[in-house]
């Protein structure tokens, strides 16, 4: 550890110091910009900045990557370690590209570039992982899942699988999701694989939608079969062609969940569960696995889970007239997150309004209108009378029509679909006001949620 080449060290310290100065200034002037900027500035001065830091112990460094759940998993692992009394350097704010990671290291190092922490726990963007790992040499890597995500950038999940594989060597210990096939397929790539798992959950309802599809086996590319799903694309799987499957005896399993009592059980112990959506359970399972492998006890985990609060949690609610609007965050071009929120809405038996804003994809130029990921999701349970959806309000100046078409294919009656073909939040809230249901679910991106909330607060004031 800690061997720094001359090329890496030349110019490192001035870049570090300027990075620290930038961090201090940004911290005073605009703290919200502090997650990336100092790293960005320092990188401009020294392109091998990450190579220059010292005192990073590979045995106490874990990188957490994957399509979904890496922020929450990172938050949980950090909380578990900090509650046990360790100093942890991390990027809790989700700045997971090289510049964000550089910012974390700049803020958590001495003037000589020596890390001031017992553990380094980093959420890392999948595409940045090979470069980050080449610099940091972590001995531990956790892969939450590898699913369809940001297709404009990634194309297909195999692209991400290959990216992650580039970062893995035989000296590493991998934490892999036993029920997510691509993550599980990485198990043989490292020196040791630790499988985290969640036993079959009670399904939110029978999923009998039109023409269900599974996925290709990541090993032999034949059709993969699932015995059940805990999440979209996550469940006990097997490939009849090559035999690749979920392990029968994973290393860490959440055996049962009590949603009423807010607890889960693993390894014979019961722990507090602050967030009970199925995707959180995999984050808890991973945190149990990492904590235990890092030497923590059940008591340590119990203390940590009892006090865990997720940073920037996904559930927000605000009033608009006589309606309470609950925001469920989704990621564009990511059917698994959209399916998760649809399942949550369907599980609520109250009368409700669905506010659906499948906006333009505006990550980088060219912006575009992809809503195809909605066809990878099951809306049919929301269309059924039992779901008690009074109206589906499709909003957004370009994509509202395509969203409405998707709902019609799911069986939504045309007279229950309201189109609001604008990005202005006022007409959207006006449409809510014309409905009767006291509960509404807002499914859109965070920017649209914030605009709607601001508009609602103006109306309430």
């Amino acid at each position: 550890m800690g061997k720094v080449s001359l090329k890496a060290s030349t110019g490192f310290l001035p870049a570090l110091w300027i990075g620290k100065l930038t961090a201090a200034v940004v911290g005073c002037v605009s703290p919200s910009r502090g997650t990336n900027l100092s790293g960005k500035v320092a990188y401009r001065l020294h392109e091998r900045l990450l190579d220059g830091f010292r005192g990073i112990d590979p045995d106490k460094t874990i990188l957490i990557t994957g399509s979904n759940g890496k922020s929450t998993s990172n938050n949980l692992v950090v909380h578990v370690l900090r509650t046990a009394g360790f100093r942890v350097a991390t990027n809790l704010e989700g700045a997971n590209l090289k510049t964000g990671i550089a910012t974390t290291l700049i803020k958590n190092s001495t003037l000589a570039g020596k890390l001031r922490a017992d553990y380094l726990v980093l959420e890392v963007d999948e595409r940045s992982l090979p470069a980050v790992q080449a610099s940091l040499g972590a001995r531990f890597l956790a892969v939450t899942n590898i699913q369809k995500d940001q297709v404009q950038r990634n194309g297909d999940p195999d692209y991400i699988y290959r990216k992650i594989l580039m970062a893995v060597d035989r000296g590493m210990t991998l934490f892999v999701n036993n029920e997510e096939p691509r993550s599980a397929a990485l198990a043989g790539a490292g020196g040791r694989a630790i499988r985290f798992s969640v036993a079959e959950l009670p399904t939110p309802g029978t999923r009998e939608w039109d023409e269900p599809v599974t996925m290709a086996c990541p090993r032999c590319h034949d059709q993969l079969e699932f015995a059940y799903y805990n999440l979209a694309g996550v469940g006990r799987f097997a490939c009849p062609a090559c035999g690749f499957s979920s392990a029968d005896k994973p290393d860490y399993v959440i055996d049962s969940v009590d949603r009423t009592g807010k607890t889960f059980t693993t390894g014979g112990r019961t722990y507090h569960l602050a967030y009970d959506a199925p995707y959180f359970l995999y984050d808890y399972a991973l945190a149990c696995a990492v904590g235990t492998e890092f030497g923590l006890t059940g008591d340590d985990l119990e203390r940590a889970f009892a006090t865990f609060t997720n940073v920037g949690g996904r559930v927000e609610e605000f009033p608009a007239g006589g309606t309470r609007i609950r925001y469920l965050r989704m990621k564009q071009e990511n059917p698994e997150t959209l399916q998760s929120v649809l399942d949550q809405i369907a599980a609520d038996d109250r009368e409700k309004i669905l506010l659906l804003g499948l906006q333009l994809v505006q990550d980088f130029v060219p912006f575009y209108s992809n809503v195809a990921y909605a066809y990878d999701c099951d809306f049919s349970r929301l269309a059924a009378p039992a779901a008690r959806v009074e109206a589906a309000i499709c909003f957004g100046r370009v994509n509202c029509y395509d969203a409405a078409v998707r709902l019609q294919y799911a069986g939504f009656p045309a007279d229950k679909i309201i189109l609001v073909d604008t990005d202005d939040p006022a007409p959207v809230l006006a449409a809510v006001g014309r409905c009767h249901a006291e509960q509404a679910y807002l499914v859109t991106m965070i920017g649209e949620y914030e605009a709607l909330r601001r508009e609602a607060e103006r109306g309430e004031a």
């Binding site: 297709v151 039109d210 023409e211 590319h221 059709q223 575009y368 195809a372 100046r397 370009v398 078409v405």
Partner: protein
Amino acid sequence: MKELRILWLYPDILNLHGDRGNLLALTRLAEVAGVRADVTRVTRLTDPVPLAEADFVLVGPGELVAMPAVIAALERSGADFGAYVDAGGVMLVTGTSAALVARETRRQDATTFAGLGLVAADVVERATVYGDDLILRVRRTTAGPAGPAGRDTADSGHELGGFQIRMADLVLEESQAPFADVLYGLGNRTSAGTGTDTEGARRGNLIVTNLLGPALAKNPWYAWDFVQSALTRKYGEPMAHPAADWTLERQGAAAIRRFNATKATVPGVVNRLGAA
């Protein structure tokens, strides 16, 4: 009752961009037109491919890494897709699955694999993905065999909207007819790597295109032409136009057209929406 037999090839393996929507569009159109849609899924790579019974073959986009296994399975199956297409059989191949029907695919690591060679084109994996909207005008063509009712191809003259996730470029031989002209988006490439203003490939009623969306759900008039071509081939006479309401789809297409007419684009992207 007339019947439309749809052969859906490997829907679990070739499953990248909500392609189930194309099947939903076909089955709904058939229902509206009073035709029974019968869907046969070929799921496993060892399953038989009952091509002789198909009126329509649907092939969605899949991961390039899976293509050699799928091609091998199709070859093992003994299904003669060339004869099917030459006999006017209707087939839609979208996105990366062009690799299945092209002559050869070259990957970024310089490895190559041969496809079925149904179109005179090669596929070249791109160094970076390109995702954007794609708006096309289907070309009129007299290439390929005449259909039973004198229609030469699935359709001609339509404007179609959708998007593309380009993992690979299609490079046509000079003799190969493209599917459409590009009004907005990234077209086929030449063998020298330069862009063109044409998109996809067609051979008779085989259409190869990067148009995703799902394309048939977003453009039901296009889906209807496929259904019409397939049923005309089978029953010898065209069907009456279905009494379907496509208002939402037309409004959606118009909104996306307006959005793309003025948006910031990147070099090499065709934008003729102002002139079209």
